[in-house]
């Protein structure tokens, strides 16, 4: 079992930053359910856990990006009310969140030195000196291959992330928050970051960061707090990876997952051969009728691109897609929807990519089947009303009112509406991208049962989830994607630990 060395306070002068019983919920989904945390000056503190476990939410609360529903945030022992990251900055904290606050059409130098540009004659900005100063700053931090004269939009995501970090460090913060700072960085860039972090630690700065990558975490962190299920589970100074992974993944009982139907042997509803492009390399897979194929791995390793390509929303550079055995060319989602038994996509961000929030449930449900509910272009109102009400009721959308504006529904109900759209379209191949993200527990279970029912009916489901536990229990088998390739294929009996470590460990072996 776990024999961690529990954390003792690193020094006695009191924590630099504290969070006490912080609670944050988004529309019925509890992101943080009363978590407490503290970090001391001169400490590097890592937060680990799966996606949705609460670590990102905690960092956003401490950094002023979000406001807690309840609980207290303290800086140097004083309770504070942070309304924005600027408030945190005024208290000596700097933040690097995953949403970068950069200006794509301006140069790196301009971005780095905004607000403190060097002035020349007439009090005007001296651009040449600005670029030189930026170069000096970058060189001083050991970054010689970032060219400050480049536009932000012309450099890689990794470089942009580094620039964001540099900007935060330039502010000489006493507290530094880094949310997934290494997600786009390669090893030597990560080493650069950690060198920076060690220097800051020596200067007495508290550094709090989240990460998925175990090797990084143990190499730099003084203390590690593990999150699971919207709570902190424990804080340790040393812990083995196995122990951490089991803490992260948890030992949830399979009873909350429906029993998996046996996979029917049969034809492949969907087959992919050598798919490449948009960051994917040589992806091949088959999806049988009535099969639930899980896709796992860390976010950003090609999952989104794979799903979009299979839906015709991205063009591959190579490879074939076969639907019901026949090769198809998917030039747009329309082609995908009409290919064979029909492909459907429930995308990642239902609010911006899926639903029309100011419009009714009815309109959202029938958006893909307009022809079927109309006659010569005229919508058959009663038919539409009846069908949508029936669908809303069968999915237990609350309230099952087709006239209700979708934007007023909870996240779980919104997701059901989006799924319902494709059920109305009677699609045979369903691509579910993180379909339970931001959904409350009760609705999650309903969706699990639904997925099972759909597979039983003979539909094929490709399921990506950032929750490895879900994948382990919901899918017939799981493909783990890493850096655009299939890194592993797992067969039952599957455990969430296997999926997590497959994604996490292999990343370290890069």
């Amino acid at each position: 079992m776990i024999d961690p060395t529990p954390a003792a306070a690193p020094n006695s002068s009191g924590p630099a930053i504290e969070g006490i019983d912080l609670v944050k919920a988004f529309g019925g989904v509890v992101a943080l359910g009363g978590a407490s945390f503290s970090a001391y000056p001169g400490e590097v503190h890592a937060l680990v856990g799966e996606n949705g476990a609460g670590k990102s939410t905690l960092i956003k609360l401490l950094g002023g990006r979000l406001r807690p529903d309840s609980g207290v945030v303290k800086y140097y022992g004083q309770p504070v009310q942070l309304h924005s990251p600027q408030d945190a900055r005024r208290l000596g904290a700097a933040t690097v969140f995953q949403e970068l606050t950069q200006f794509p059409g301006m140069t790196i130098a301009e971005n780095l030195l905004i607000g403190r540009e060097p002035r020349g004659a007439l009090g005007l900005i001296d651009r040449r000196r600005m670029t030189a100063e930026a170069a000096a700053i970058l060189a001083g931090m050991g970054l010689h291959d970032i060219d400050p004269g480049e536009l932000v939009e012309d450099v890689s995501l990794a470089q942009r992330q580094i620039v964001e970090i540099v900007r935060a460090v330039l502010a000489e913060p006493k507290i530094l928050f880094l949310d997934e700072p290494t997600s786009s960085l390669v090893e030597r860039e990560v080493e650069w970051l950690f060198g920076m972090v060690r220097k800051l630690r020596a200067e007495g700065t508290s550094v709090i960061f989240t990460s998925h990558r175990w090797r990084e975490v143990i190499s730099i962190a003084d203390r590690i707090t593990v999150f699971r299920n919207a709570r902190e589970v424990g804080t340790f100074t040393t812990i083995s990876e196995d122990d951490a992974v089991s803490l992260m993944a948890g030992r949830k009982v399979s009873a909350i997952y429906p029993t998996l139907p046996p996979k029917p042997a049969g034809d492949a509803a969907l087959a992919v051969e050598g798919l490449s492009g948009n960051g994917l390399t040589d992806i091949s897979l088959t999806l049988g009728k009535g099969e639930i194929l899980g896709v796992g791995g860390l976010a950003g390793h090609g999952h989104r691109e794979l799903f979009f390509t299979l839906f015709g929303a991205l063009k591959p550079s190579a490879g074939r897609i076969l639907v019901s055995g026949k090769p198809v060319r998917l030039r747009s989602p329309r082609d995908a929807i009409h290919a064979g038994p029909g492909i459907a996509l429930v995308p990642e961000d239902r609010k911006t990519e899926g639903l029309l929030l100011p419009m009714s449930v009815k309109i959202n449900l029938t958006l893909s089947v307009l022809r079927r509910i109309s006659w010569l272009g005229l919508i058959r109102g009663r038919d539409e009303q009846a069908r949508t009400r029936a669908m809303a009721e069968s999915l237990d959308v609350r309230p099952p009112d087709p006239g209700r504006i979708v934007g007023t529904l909870s996240g779980g109900n919104q997701q059901k509406v989006l799924i319902g759209r494709w059920l109305l379209a009677e699609s045979g191949i369903l691509l579910f991208y993180d379909v339970t993200r931001g959904v409350d527990v009760a609705t999650k279970h309903e969706i699990y049962a639904l997925i099972n029912r759909l597979a039983n009916e003979g539909r094929s489901i490709l399921l990506y989830s950032s929750d490895a536990e879900e994948l382990a229990h919901l899918a017939h088998r799981v493909l783990v994607l890493r850096e655009g390739r299939i890194a592993a294929e797992l067969h039952p009996p599957m455990t969430s630990e296997a999926i997590v470590s497959s994604a996490v460990r292999d990343a370290d072996a890069a």
Binding site: G27, G33, R334, G354, L356, I363, L370, R371, R398, S410
Partner: protein, 338 residues
């Protein structure tokens, strides 16, 4: 559940309450109601200021002029609903008027030919706008602005500055009658407009095409991922805008008898103002033609009231602008509260 760490279990998630309806109407219908009430208010004020303003003859005169604005506003509404705009209607309208007279030469037997040709021209020009915007990716402001210049140049050049012999022709009597004639004391042109209002409203509210329009205006990405053909719908909408501009040109030249230059110029801003006053959001996705029609009536009635009060034209312009801004501020605050 045997999970050792109990998560705060949420109850069945309570959906946030729906926004309070006013008179049982949602925001979009409310704006239409306001526009209609506004029109009535203007008539009432006008009648108070100038007795006889609310007489049937006077009202129908206002409605007649409003119908021209309303026709152009129909096309404008379609493209504004997807977040676009059509700056080419002045010259398309003008070109349509000229094409009608020169192709029919005032002859009723050629009326059908002339009208069909003219409407096809309008739709065709609109189609070109749509292709430039949807397929070439040219911003709507630029594409339609450029088209305005292109059509104006062609129109002026081909007609020799309206000095060609055919240009002085009259519109066919049947068209003139369609505008000036009356049935039950109401000018026929108003019946035409009412018919258009009915058709456009049905299209927007009850057809798949209308549904797609609102979807794209609300969220083009989600619409695309739902399988809607966004470029095709966009092209059709701009074609419709050109069609309505041409239709307005036909009726206007029927009204005036002959074609002239700069016929279409005032209708650009008027059509946009009518739509906005009627609750159509310039960002797209919200609003209805009924509102734009009511807005057209309100604005024309306002201008007419001011005219009968002998307010000089500049006064009307100033008040026009002030009223539009006041309405926008009122609408804007509403949307934040809703």
């Amino acid at each position: 559940m045997t999970d050792p760490i109990p998560v705060v279990p949420p109850a069945a998630p309570a959906a946030p309450p729906p926004p309070r309806p006013f008179l049982g109407l949602d925001a979009e219908r409310r704006h239409i109601l306001y526009a209609v009430l506004g029109a009535i208010l203007v008539f009432a004020v006008g009648a108070a200021v100038r007795p006889g303003f609310a007489s049937p003859a006077s009202i129908s005169a206002v409605l007649l002029v409003a119908s021209f604005v309303g026709l152009v506003a129909a096309g404008q509404t379609f493209v504004i609903l997807i977040g676009g705009i059509d700056l080419s209607i002045p010259s398309v309208l003008n070109a349509a008027a000229i094409l009608l007279v020169t192709s029919t030469l005032g002859d009723d037997s050629r009326a059908v030919y002339g009208i069909t040709l003219t409407l096809a021209m309008g739709a065709g020009l609109g189609l070109l706008n749509g292709v430039g915007i949807a397929i070439l990716g040219v911003p709507a402001v630029i594409m339609t602005l450029a088209m305005n210049g292109i059509v104006e140049g062609l129109m002026l050049g081909l007609s020799g500055g309206l000095t060609c012999q055919a240009c002085a022709s009259y519109a066919p009597p049947v068209v003139q009658a369609a505008v000036h004639g009356s049935l039950l004391g109401v000018p026929l042109a108003i019946y035409i407009w009412v018919g258009i209002i009915v058709i456009v409203s049905i299209v927007l509210s009850f057809t798949t095409f209308g549904r797609r329009t609102y979807a794209i205006g609300n969220n083009a990405v989600a619409s695309h991922l739902a399988g809607i053909n966004v470029p095709l719908t966009t092209i059709l909408l701009y074609a419709l805008s050109g069609f309505f501009a041409a239709l307005a040109g036909i009726l206007l030249v029927g009204f005036g008898g002959q074609a002239s230059l700069e016929m279409g110029t005032p209708y650009l801003f008027e059509s946009i103002a009518a739509a906005v006053v009627g609750g159509v959001s310039i960002l797209g996705g919200r609003g209805h033609y009924l509102g734009a029609a009511a807005g057209a009536v309100s604005l024309v009635a306002l201008a007419t009231v001011l005219q009968t009060m002998n307010m000089p034209e500049y006064g009307r312009d100033i008040l026009y602008g002030v009223v539009v801004i006041a309405l926008l501020l009122a609408y804007g605050r509403e949307q934040e509260g809703a």
